[in-house]
């Protein structure tokens, strides 16, 4: 039975190792729709909840290749087709001098596509998120670690999931209203 008013179940931990161990056990128990929150980036925590890859690297690569091609083609076209001009007797297609702009545009495009790709893929900015309905959650930006199992998970059960999380050595467990 899914209750549309419930977003999930949240457990609070006061140290990173407990959070990592809890996340691993939650994943091992068959829960897949879960998320972890920490005051600083913890790579092991991301791995523990089964978060391995995201599309940002690919978006960044494509953006970089696009910037690289665009910049070089633009300079080649200007110097060879649109407005050929003799500069110090050098060949029109003086590619070494095109490299700097090509390089900078590659960096610019890959940087911008990484930022906007990240925002598109993670759905930010997000004015409302149910986890903030739990008052203690504000500690996630200070010194506490949180693990949330979403109600949309097929193994989610209001009573059993709470009991499961309570067995993982948390400081507190709370239901998150949607």
């Amino acid at each position: 039975m899914k209750d549309p008013l419930i977003y999930g179940m949240m457990a609070e931990f006061d140290n990173v190792n407990d959070a990592i161990i809890a996340a691993r056990r939650t994943y091992a128990a068959g829960y897949r729709k879960l998320d972890a929150y920490s005051p600083f980036p913890v790579e092991e925590l991301a791995e523990a909840i089964g978060f391995h890859k995201n599309g940002v690297a690919l978006v960044c690569l494509i953006g970089g290749l696009l910037g690289c091609t665009a910049a070089f083609t633009l300079q080649w076209w200007i110097n060879n087709v649109s407005y050929p001009i003799n500069i110090g007797g050098r060949p029109l297609n003086s590619w070494p001098s095109f490299i700097i702009v090509t390089f900078e545009m590659t960096i610019l495009f890959s940087g911008l596509s990484a930022v906007f790709g990240m925002l598109t893929l993670n759905g930010l900015p997000m004015p409302y998120h149910p986890v903030f309905n739990v008052p203690r959650f504000e500690l996630a930006s200070k010194d506490r670690f949180f693990l949330v199992i979403f109600a949309s998970d097929k193994n989610y059960d209001g009573v059993r999931t709470r009991q499961f999380l309570e067995g993982l050595n948390p400081i507190s467990v709370a239901e998150v209203p949607s």
Binding site: N17, I21, E44, A57, L61, G88, P96, S97, I99
Partner: protein, 416 residues
């Protein structure tokens, strides 16, 4: 905090490296004797010293690059550094060998390296016996580029390097004994000025040893190209060594994919910087198109040498760059070690491309290029033998360092 682990026996270097060390020494002696024969025969002595300079610069680069990393890690800290700190120090402590190996150049090599190249076309006058018509060079060969100046400066460079290595190594040795202390503030006092000194001394050294072969040519970025090359060589060597050591305890449980990943990222950094500085040098000289400067590239981008230049662009930069973009590739020391070995070979090709075109206008088959392989292998064998001997003399972690304790806690936490 978990209990402090200070059992140094636990961190002893595995016995298995003794075999590698002995084999390296064997190869070094075998190739060394072969090289010595070429050095003694007058007809091949000139080629011997060209090859010797290539081999010397290659292995000096690994030693000095490692010293630079030792100083960097005292300033930045980090787990990536703790796991290779003792290996870096062992590599840094091969500098006395490099100082001894410089003596042949001082004693006998100068006439064969700095006497210019009097080819019918495209030849140039060296600083040792300059063309009297060349007023500027005659002046230089009386003031800065003199045999005594060359020797005196070399003594100063080695004194500074050996002094830095001695202090850094000695203080590190204190961390093998109780109590657990944080020596980082003291290390920083020597590491910060040490890095600046390293940058200056190596710049002056490569101007003396490599750039002055063609005394009219100069490039202001030359020192930085060598600094970056040396750091790349050192990091590649560390990736190779950590791969060998990680087959045994204690390194098997100390080396984590995260730290291998960091070493891969540093390789990427230095591959990119090498390309960046190399291209900057090309672009500025190409755009200026001045006779004295462009000569460097007209020698190295025509008459067959362009094959090596293009090879460097592809195999020293483009292909390693593409591999190093991949995250799983950098995290796996088994895949990373192959690229590291390859890049170390490309470091040799890079030095070959910098040094040999001074003496041969066109790249055609020349028996001497075989000696260019033999002599670096000889020096490398001796270098590795001393490196492993240094490595065995101390535990693989400075266990009484506060940061080593933090590192052990982290490695322990990553276990469960």
């Amino acid at each position: 905090m978990t209990a402090v682990r200070t059992n140094t026996i636990e961190f002893r270097v595995p016995e298995a490296v003794n075999t590698i060390s002995q084999r390296s020494l064997g190869i070094g002696l075998l190739f060394g004797v072969a090289s010595l024969i070429f050095a003694l025969v007058p007809a091949t002595r000139e080629q011997f010293f060209h090859s010797y300079l290539i081999g010397f610069m290659l292995w000096l680069g690994v030693a000095l690059g490692s010293m630079a990393f030792v100083m960097i890690q005292h300033l930045t800290g980090g787990k990536w550094a703790m796991v290779i700190r003792r290996q870096l120090e062992a590599a840094m402590n091969t500098l006395p060998l490099m100082a001894v190996l410089f003596i042949p150049i001082l004693a006998a090599g100068i006439p064969y390296l700095y006497n210019g190249n009097h080819e019918a076309v495209g030849g140039f006058s060296g600083w040792l016996h300059p063309d009297p018509a060349d007023k500027h060079l005659v002046e230089m060969s009386k003031s800065y580029l003199t045999v005594s100046g060359y020797t005196g400066r070399a003594v100063i460079y080695f004194a500074i390097w050996l002094g830095l290595a001695f202090i850094l190594s000695r203080w590190s040795g204190e961390q093998d004994h109780p109590p657990v202390r944080n020596l980082s503030p003291r290390f920083r006092l020597i590491a910060a000025p040490g890095i600046i000194l390293y940058a200056f001394t190596i710049s002056f050294a490569v101007i003396d040893w490599v750039m002055s072969i063609d005394p009219h040519w100069y490039s202001t970025i030359f020192g930085f190209i060598f600094i970056v090359g040396e750091c790349l060589s050192a990091m590649c060597m560390m990736v190779i060594i950590e791969r060998i050591l990680s087959r045994y305890e204690p390194m098997a449980s100390l080396l984590k994919p995260k730290e291998v990943h960091d070493h891969g990222k540093l390789m990427l950094t230095f591959v990119l910087l090498w390309a960046y500085f190399g291209f900057s040098q090309l672009l500025i000289i190409w755009a200026g198109n001045l006779p004295m400067e462009i000569r460097f590239f007209t020698r190295r981008l025509y008459s067959g040498w362009q094959v090596i230049a293009l090879g460097l662009v592809i195999f020293h930069f483009a292909i390693p760059f593409l591999f190093l973009l991949s995250r799983p590739f950098k995290q796996n020391s088994r895949s990373l070690v192959r690229l590291a070995a390859w890049l170390l070979f490309m470091r040799f090709i890079d030095l070959f491309w910098y040094i040999e075109p001074n003496f041969h206008k066109a790249l055609t088959f020349h028996w001497g290029y075989l000696l260019d392989l033999v002599v670096p292998i000889a020096i490398g064998g001796l270098w590795l033998a001393l490196f492993f001997r240094n490595l065995r003399s101390r535990p693989l972690l400075p266990v009484y360092d506060l940061h080593a304790q933090e590192f052990l806690e982290y490695v322990g936490a990553a276990h469960d």
